[in-house]
Amino acid sequence: MTDLLEVRDLTRTFGGLRAVNGLSFHVGEGETVGLIGPNGAGKTTVFNLIMNELRPDSGEIFFKGEAISRYPTHERVKLGIARTYQVPRPFAEMTVGENIRVGMLPDNLWKMVTEEAEEALETEIGRSVGFNNHQIAQRPSELAMGDLRRLELARTLAVQPSLLLLDEVFAGLTLGEIDQISELLVERKKHGLTYVMVSHDLRSMAPLVDRVIAISFGEIITEGTFNEVVNNKTVQEAYLGQ
């Protein structure tokens, strides 16, 4: 399996705290990886570093074999990395359709002005995550948490990523909503989407990932299949604080 993403010796400190400490891992093309760890383990920080929303103190990130550490966020997205946020961040004054439109915008001022919005494609993306036409015309304030997560996912899928970073996609969702999102991810996985998923909901994560990486205090404790990792004594101690 060719590496799509490679993180090499990544370190980031906040004052005296080493949130990410010499972290190295890789994600193969078409692979789905779970990133788990107790609160404050550095999972979201890793995503922020991959997206350049935070700058690392040291370390390198490679995407499709290319060193991207110097690339700004929007360039990384254009290369094919996209992320969702732990707390959904929709554009509050826009409809669901317009939110998706932002994800589809070309990074070219001339094209933005001269080319029409592809409304049919917007609707198609919206429908692919389970929205109906009525919901596509609604604003985020009218949506439930599960819908907001789906909107986040739709906007992220609109940039046509080859690697998706999913941050706590199941947080705050009902069991029915979790099933909907899971089905969607299984479907995308079948179509070859690579993703790295951060979640505290290990049971929901289990069928969705090929491999799990467990981290604590910004360092890898262990990695392997889901069962291997959750049964690992060090992982259990890290979670339970023993």
Binding site: P72, H74, V102, L105, M112, A117
Partner: protein, 318 residues
């Protein structure tokens, strides 16, 4: 045909305004001229601050660059206006960008404060640096005018304001308008959608500076004079901001409505409350409006339009 359909309200507005000199006195027309200029200033502010949420307190700085450039070129070098005005617009765009570019990397209150600092800097610079060139505290007067008389000045100011208004309105209706609005709502999420927000903000700023440049240069030649106290005054800045916010920020039409409303409100209050007292009344009215119509007067028009001109639902859509 599609464009005409989109522009029907604008065309109606233009028709009404073009007939106005037939019915009203030159004195009232002069109030309209000021309203037209205020509308241009407010739209200039709106395309940057109303759309992207980067609140600029430095627009008088941009207006001042344009005003002083054209004033100095005509006053000292006797250059014709058809050269000095475009030169002033280009200078505003370049000069403004050089100063504002670093500021576009900071956000929120800091951006607003930095732009305010530029205005103050310009205010003091114009008085002490090369006063022979700038006219110092008294500024420059006796500048040539483009046209004379209330009616020609009214048509000129309206035509330019109208062209700017339609141009900006069409621009914000494209996907670029969506991108700029998205920056106001969550800039990080826009970046995470693969868009270079610095370039978008810079574009919005350049357009804003261009409009401020055009309006500033024409305003200077309408008045026939320029002085630092008139341009770089906090009241002038607030009038621009209040016009845009009162009318409805981020909408382009809102600032035009706000500019007309504000100018006429101040004029109507003049006979009853002379001097600065009327600013108190206008402040109270502005506060009441903000409280009850926080999205500006334009939102009232939108509500009326939706109520009476709502498009019929398409039976084909599900």
């Amino acid at each position: 045909m599609w464009l005409l359909g989109q522009l029907r309200w604008w065309l109606l507005f233009a028709l009404g305004m073009s007939l106005l000199p037939l019915f009203i006195s030159p004195g009232t027309l002069r109030i309209f001229i000021f309203a037209n200029f205020l509308a241009m200033f407010a739209m200039s502010w709106d395309i940057l601050s109303g759309r992207t949420g980067y609140i600029s307190f430095g627009h008088p700085f941009l207006i001042g660059i344009a005003g002083y450039t054209t004033a100095m070129l005509t006053y000292h070098l006797n250059w014709p206006l058809y050269i000095t005005i475009p030169t002033a617009v280009v200078t505003t765009m370049i000069g403004g960008t050089l100063f504002f570019l670093p500021a576009l990397r900071i956000r929120g209150t800091y951006f607003a404060l930095v732009t305010l600092a530029f205005m103050e800097l310009m205010y003091h610079s114009m008085q002490v640096v090369q006063p022979k060139l700038t006219g110092g505290t008294r500024g420059l007067s006796g500048l040539p005018t483009l046209v004379s008389g209330a009616v020609p000045n009214y048509y000129l100011s309206f035509l330019v304001m109208f062209a700017i208004g339609v141009g900006l309105w069409l621009l914000i209706r494209t996907r670029l308008g969506i991108a700029l609005s998205a920056i106001r709502m969550d800039e990080d999420a826009v970046r995470s959608s693969g868009l270079n927000t610095t370039r978008l903000k810079l574009f919005a700023f350049m357009v804003s500076a261009m409009v401020a440049g055009i309006a500033g240069a024409l305003y200077t030649h309408y008045l026939g004079s320029i002085a630092p106290r008139g341009i770089f005054e906090i009241n002038f800045l607030f009038t621009i901001l209040v016009a845009a916010l009162l009318g409805g920020a981020g909408t382009i039409i809102g600032p035009i409505i706000g500019a007309y409303f504000l100018t006429f409100l101040l004029e109507l209050l003049r006979p009853y409350i002379p001097g600065a007292g009327r600013y108190l009344i206008y402040g109270v009215i502005a506060l009441v409006l903000y409280y009850y119509v926080p999205k500006g007067l334009y939102s009232l028009f939108e509500r009326l339009r939706e109520r009476f001109f709502r498009p019929r639902p398409d039976p084909q859509s599900d």
